[in-house]
Symmetry: D2
Subunit: 199 residues, 4 copies
């Protein structure tokens, strides 16, 4: 396998990329200047060397080794902990500018096929609880997507928290109409939630 | 304009139908048996003769002239009134089997362009309030879609109700993640609502 | 079944229309004026009374009973006959303003599942040949879509014509890149045709 | 800008990739093993060192430095030259297994905005003609996409070839129905071509 095919096969492993687009990526890099290719190589190398995983929330960051800027900030509210599936979900909540608490990234969702928690950082979450409670944790918010995988993950983590984090309230994100929802096309579950959560 | 063109132009006025599909509809009717065309004509004629508008909720129904089967049912909870935009939205709520109160169909949404309530049955709604309150009305639920038109309509009707329906609580459908929502792709408004309405 | 449901079921039989859109059509007619509904009924009635099938090309038309305006025109070239699947395909060729010959609508395509010609007006086509040849027919163009059903239909009709229309050239529409085609995404068959038919 | 942002910005320059997907790519690489990142860096480095541009057809290849395997093959027909826009278009023609001649990759299409040929290897093409004619070139096939950019490029290159490659026939790919085309939805131009190129 030559360099073109090898790189193409690597791009095919990227999320959402098929053989055709992988080949376009390689052609793009072939036509790019050597400087672009060098910057690309360097950035990938730095991902390994300069990017650290925050020992508290577990997200990847490029600050100094150790706590990330959210976990080390004195202005965040340590009584609230949002438990999210991924760095991308954490970033989405940050972009909405409505949450001022801390985060924990479990690193995925329970697979409905396997129903196993392996790969998820549940032990790390539970181990971090005594210190978090000491720092004032009052509520853990299960901030998972509104789909079967998200629901199963929330149920399992809720069980663990109820047992291990006595005194900490466990909540879930509100369900109802999301922006743009039309009643006519909404599923019965969403309408039920929207009615129950009316205000 | 011949019959083919005339019918094609009529089909073009149907919601979501362009010239091409309108022509396909006409071709379909041309190839259909005379019996199908006759049934079609008769059904349209019956729409005008056998379908009545319920004088209470304003929806179209084919029961005996007078109140529809929801408004005349003794098992519905007259303390709750869901105010909806259309018959289709009413039908969606009925399909979800979670609402046991009564309905009022205003017949549309406030157009953002005109900002006028003309065409909406707001006067009819307000006129019906004294009798509804006498019958035990406690809460009016503004059940409009989660889009700008729905929001504007809700604001205007809430103003009218607050003034004219003293003592009746006015609520709105809950907002948050709807079924299938992923945090990563949710808009900030939806995430804000989901956090605020956590439970 | 009441008038609303009955009409909704009829609309569901229209090409490309599901239950939800069928219901929207009915709601549209309910909210329409009685005049619109009356025009609708009348147009459908006229489809049966004022629309005739041309005895030569077999398409539906609303001219005086008898030959359609294409078949009765003295300015069309009777040496060319385009054999098409449907009235819609005939209309598409007319819109392109490039064909000045006559047409014959066979009324469908060979179904790959059944492989039967039943329902197609092949006998009518063959029966019309002696008169067409007498009127100068030199070439029959099989103008079918470039898909498996179109290809099978063309093969079968070509066999019949070769046997029954001796002396008449039988041709097919040219294959190659269609407007907007990109080589990168073109299928091998299209590229093969484009290369063979280069000019 | 940190490594995560830097790499994300680089991915945004890839064809068809927006900010959201660029971030997913970075997250994918962050979660990947160091071995994958290393293979990625190495493949990119090899693109620069092991990939050569063929001095004859101009495409990128990983054979030994010099002519690519198509241009150096004795079984290709040097009387035919397909002039294509990109390596991807060349690859598409090769996949169709119908062309046995040689290629020249001009490296893009005329931009309709600028109408300039800059960036296209037209001079290289013209310079290569004397040797190609000496080797038996009889026909140059303009194999460009069937869109306005492709058509403009073909017109300009045809002008140059007519002047500089006297005695060489210049042809274009055949136009007509491409696989899957339905007459009803075909544009007038395609129908016109399909009728003219009937066979």
């Amino acid at each position: 396998m030559d360099a073109i095919e090898r790189l193409s096969k690597l791009f095919e492993r990227f999320p959402g990329i098929g053989p055709r687009q992988a080949q376009r990526f390689v052609q793009f890099l072939l036509r790019s200047s050597p400087a672009i290719r060098r910057e690309m190589m360097e950035s990938i190398r730095e991902l390994g060397s300069d990017v650290h995983q925050c020992p508290s929330c577990q997200r990847y960051h490029t600050g100094t080794k150790g706590l990330c800027d959210i976990c080390s900030s004195s202005s965040r509210d340590s009584s609230l902990l949002a438990i999210v599936a991924s760095d991308a979900d954490l970033a989405a909540l940050e972009r909405s500018h409505t949450f001022r608490g801390l985060y924990f990234v479990v690193g995925g969702l329970l697979s409905l096929a396997s129903d196993r928690m392996s790969g998820l950082r549940v032990k790390e979450l539970l181990d971090s609880l005594p210190e978090r409670i000491e720092n004032g944790l009052k509520e853990a918010i299960l901030a998972f997507p509104a789909n079967p995988e998200g629901d199963s993950t929330a149920i399992r983590i809720r069980e663990e928290l109820t047992e291990k984090a006595v005194g900490v309230k466990v909540s879930s994100l509100g369900r109802g109409l999301s922006t743009g929802s039309e009643l006519e096309y909404a599923d019965p579950e969403t309408l039920k939630n929207a009615l129950e959560n009316r205000h």
